[in-house]
Symmetry: C2
Subunit: 403 residues, 2 copies
């Protein structure tokens, strides 16, 4: 008998039929002798609908009241799922975030979980109940409702799994697992059986959009074994855990990210402290910088190029323009770019990965603007129009080594 | 400076425009130097929509999960009202039933309030916040959400007013107060300035549908001054309190109730204990009996006629058929009847009331099937088709004495 935490997102419970489908998955797991704790998000577009209702009344409503409003979404879905499980004849109990013991800090709208006191969940499991928990929400020290921000239900599920030492935390989505590339675009994309936390983090950051990053970080920290699988197709998914069997595995996946702006400062003085002044200022404004490229100084000046999220492009340019060291310099912001990356924990010991990637791009006639590497990934910045072609070319080049 | 509790029903907050209207009423009260606690119901048809969602999944869902589901309705409306008040620039804080300190028993779906611990409300008022409380809901000893049943928000408001010794509890509705008859049907109907708790109870029971009965009972018990007034028209409403100035006031109102079934048992043995056996059995099945009429015994037999709510008609007949003492007897159930009543605390000392009523009915050519009287009301059972005509005739007859 194992303790399994299962998480279902909004689209998995979007209507009565899908709620019944989830109820069947949950009760099948219970029937096999497992204790089951289920974390659910709000149904389908409920959260967006509630946000629209709020905006109609007050577009600048306080975050406390927004959290009060939004938390009702999961309340509806946990009750409906519990009713569906009752209908199938199984004992069940739904719990709100605060009932399930979620304590958070007081950053309304994107609160961090401080602790999960799982007493009540354990009590209900002791009564042989299937326990349904509202994801995305908790309670702060003032006894006020908080929400964890978008994707927070993944984090709720991992937090319960960590606090209860669950045997597995299953994240159900509308894809069958983690793929080597976007299966809707790359026909030869393959589902991975296993992946490490670090690889998953790189894939998530790079736009694979399967798992929320905070949840993977938490899973890594508390060594929670995750499984990403489909709520629509009954098949094993992708296991995310610390140690995986590497063997021939070299590259885990190829991703693209088009939410990128490339900013260049041309002709900066070639004196010490420039990078600190530029990036310190951006960090102070909470602008995350991704790839940084600095040209080798040519005499008195050098060029600095870096990437940020598209939404931060204009703000970053504005900040740079107000820096003394940028006075009179040309600052260029190009949002017409994409980042294509290969990810794989094996690659650091295989020097051929980078050259295979560059060769594939060269043969597809794609120009590389910037390159960034880490121990488990290689990213290139290219023209946005080339992005899909680049993913396909790189993916095809690695197919022989992807297991 | 006074402490005012204001309650707004679902239709008063049905859409963004109406929520803003309520926000203006509330902030005007606050602006005049009062502490304000507001109790709100779920928006418009939200509760019915949620019930439909539940039925689609499981028509026999547990009441615990129904309460979990339904309580989300008020959560949405308190947050939206708080946002509207923020928009008008006033300090505000919304609270769920449990946050506002509502402890109830564990009868899910129609829980009784055991206690209101108003600590948190007082804390927020101390911060000069307008406090918005979710009506209709509380928490039982297991820390589970309960709801108070339909009309429960009235009771929530009175409970807060009682526990905090509020100066007044204003119940906002879509009518301007309590009328001597239904103003949509009887043109000469007049708004009452004042009414006693007992009169209000009789009027509510008789179908005036302005205030929930439990809330009036609680207001009477804790001596909370109620005011029934309109959320759409800014005008004084009807005050409900213990002592009113009687003077010429004789009759407070004329009401009709068409939710009545008349059941007759013809030819029951004229021996002791019959009434006990019949009505004891009905009470055991939770069937409320209203008017009872027993014919004078004709030799060995007598006839017994009584009224119940329409929804209980068939069940009552079924119970009677299974009684030994009814074997072989004719049992008739007529749902084509209506009860018309005059209510007024002054009438017990004025013997002319009953005869004025009967005369009015006679002149309108309406046959009286049954008559029941109490200290403050006279009810007659008549053909349903005559109900509106009867209300008009009786109301017109009393106009000279209604103040």
């Amino acid at each position: 008998m194992a303790l399994i935490v299962q998480k279902f997102g909004g689209s998995s419970v979007a209507n009565a039929e899908r709620v019944m489908n989830v109820a069947r998955i949950v009760t099948d797991t219970y029937k096999n002798g497992n204790d089951v704790v289920v974390v659910v998000s709000a149904q389908g577009d409920t959260t967006d609908d509630l946000i629209d209702k709020a905006k109609e009344i007050n577009p600048s409503a306080s975050k406390r009241e927004m959290d009060m409003l939004l938390a009702s979404g999961e309340q509806i879905s946990i009750a409906l799922l519990a009713m569906a499980i009752e209908k199938l004849g199984y004992p069940v109990c739904s719990l709100l975030g605060w009932q399930a013991g979620f304590s958070t800090n007081s950053v309304y709208g994107s609160a961090r979980i401080k602790k999960v006191n799982a007493e009540r969940i354990k009590l209900e499991i002791g009564k042989k109940n299937i326990v349904i928990v509202a994801g995305f929400q908790g309670l702060n020290k003032y006894d006020d409702i908080t929400t964890l921000g978008r994707g927070g239900s993944d984090t709720s599920a991992v937090a319960i799994a960590a606090s209860m030492h669950a045997d597995r935390c299953q994240i159900f989505t509308d894809v069958e697992g983690v793929y080597t590339a976007d299966p809707r675009k790359i026909k030869s994309a393959q589902k991975l059986n296993e992946i490490t936390y670090d690889e998953m983090l790189e894939l998530a950051t790079l736009g694979a959009q399967v798992l929320n990053n905070r949840s993977v970080e938490m899973a890594k920290k508390y060594n929670v074994t995750l499984e990403v699988l489909s709520s629509l197709v009954r098949a094993p998914g992708t296991i995310v855990k610390e140690v995986t069997t590497m063997e021939k595995m070299l590259v885990r996946g190829v991703t693209k990210d088009t939410d990128v702006a490339r900013i260049s400062i041309i002709g900066v003085s070639n004196v010490p402290g420039i990078a600190y002044k530029i990036f310190g200022k951006l960090a102070a404004k909470n602008i995350n910088v991704d790839i940084i490229l600095q040209s080798v100084g040519r005499g008195d000046t050098k060029d600095i190029t870096f990437t940020v999220a598209k939404s931060h492009g204009d703000e970053a340019v504005e900040i740079l323009k107000n820096l003394d060291l940028c006075t009179g310099l040309e600052i260029v912001c190009d949002t017409n770019v994409a980042k294509v990356s290969v990810v794989g924990a094996g690659m650091e010991t295989h020097p051929g990965v980078a050259s295979t990637m560059f060769e594939a791009l060269f043969e597809a006639d794609i120009n590389i603007q910037m390159i960034a590497t880490s121990e488990i990934k290689i990213s290139v910045l290219i023209d946005a129009a080339d992005a899909d072609k680049a993913v396909e070319a790189v993916h095809n080049a690695f197919i022989p080594v992807i297991s």
